[in-house]
Symmetry: C2
Subunit: 256 residues, 2 copies
């Protein structure tokens, strides 16, 4: 066992102190909204409802998948949760978005483009509002881009940088980064572009936080200061200067 030292930021980051999560946080961090062969949120809706424990959800549509309008996008969660008797409002429907976040019973930030999502949150000055709400115990659900921004920064997004945000720093609810839609290298590929694994190794040449590669169908649930991996698949954990490992739970992130 290695001892954490100030000269070794990697070990410092791995130690339990650095990996602590605010015990008030209630987060459902999902790799994707939709798995192959099933409808929007269908694979996760029952678990989400159980986790969020709210009869009303504030949906943040800013990531605009495929450039959908806020109204178009908000229709999807309205329908998915509506069928279960839960009301969804789009944050864009409120004239005062800060107040809407302050009054939310549960918050769901959907997927799309992570750069666009983060830029819009900065422009509307909602970063601190979201941090405050979640620190107060308001349950948060994210899918894809909405999960990416739960990490320390968006440096491990898969998205195209279609707009320039004022910073890559994200909500930082988790003491690590997320790579959603994690894809294993294809051994038969003839393509010479980088694999996901190569990209994350490059990330660790310049950044020390661990990265959790979250496969489609997987999610992380955070409660009482503890992060649990849920869903049928293992996750792939990348730590600076180490070989990636395949895990059934996230305990390794607390090891020294």
């Amino acid at each position: 066992m290695t001892t954490a030292t100030e000269n070794n930021p990697l070990i410092l980051l791995q130690n339990s102190e650095q990996m602590k999560i605010n015990p008030k946080y209630r987060l459902l961090v999902a790799s994707t909204s939709t798995v192959f062969g099933s409808g929007y949120l269908e694979y996760i809706i029952d678990d989400a409802i159980k986790f969020l424990k709210a009869d009303e959800i504030l949906f943040v549509p800013y990531a605009r998948p495929s450039g959908a309008t806020y109204d178009e996008y908000t229709e999807s969660p309205k329908k998915a949760f509506g069928q279960k008797g839960i009301k969804v409002s789009g944050l864009h429907e409120f004239s005062e978005p800060k107040k809407a976040v302050q009054n939310a019973k549960a918050i769901f930030i959907g997927g799309g483009n992570t750069f666009l999502l983060l830029k819009t949150l900065y422009e509307l000055e909602l970063i601190d509002e979201l941090k405050t709400a979640v620190s107060n115990g308001i349950p948060y659900m994210g899918t894809s881009a909405g999960s990416n921004i739960c990490g320390i920064d968006i440096g491990t997004t898969n998205d195209m940088p279609i707009v320039y945000p004022p910073s890559f720093e994200a909500l930082g609810f988790l003491p690590f980064n997320i790579n959603p839609h994690y894809l294993d290298p294809d051994p038969n590929s003839k393509h010479k572009g980088e694999t996901r694994e190569t990209r994350i190794y490059e990330f660790h040449k310049f950044n020390s936080q661990p990265v959790v590669g979250l496969r489609e169908g997987s999610r992380i649930e955070v409660e009482q200061g503890s992060a649990a991996l849920k869903g049928p698949l293992t996750a792939r954990i990348f730590r600076q200067g180490m070989e990636a490992v395949e895990v059934n739970d996230l305990g390794i992130l607390k090891e020294q």
Copy 2:
């Protein structure tokens, strides 16, 4: 035929005036350094030598593929061009990089991470130096990230945002953006992450410049104000508000 108007930036951008390229530019903009089953630069080295017409090349290693050091990375072009009797120096070997760019006979910027490459060029204040050199007719070769930065901005890179550059604005040698390593959607994929095409359509919700999807093995050669598509494959052209088209040459970019 539609006439260009000030109220229609799309058409303005498509019109020949906007699509003009400085007649002094000599650019070889390649999708990749390496095609499947062949060595570094092997598929392109003879064409590159004919195009660059220089016995000495200044190599810019800042994109650091897989986090390679500058020395490690520079070995590859040194070997590939060296075998053909052409000397390659790494820009990092010079104590005054600005002067090295000013004195270069030909410049080659290699692939790796586009964010890291652009950030380093800004930090070393080399953007203007590169623009001046290329405006003076110094031949420029780029592969992958080195091609990406020839476009208006890096908004259509495939890379992971592992570092935060002070701007996404790039060298702007081309009046359009490049998407290197262009990949067609896989009709058999069960993955729900965005396809390359979806990502570029999203880009065009917020940006008006055309995007050239350049497949591996393809390159663009720019001389005397004209851009020619070279290599065995067609390219895919994306224009704001239009369906993507498959082309053998880049003439469509000048059409109104």
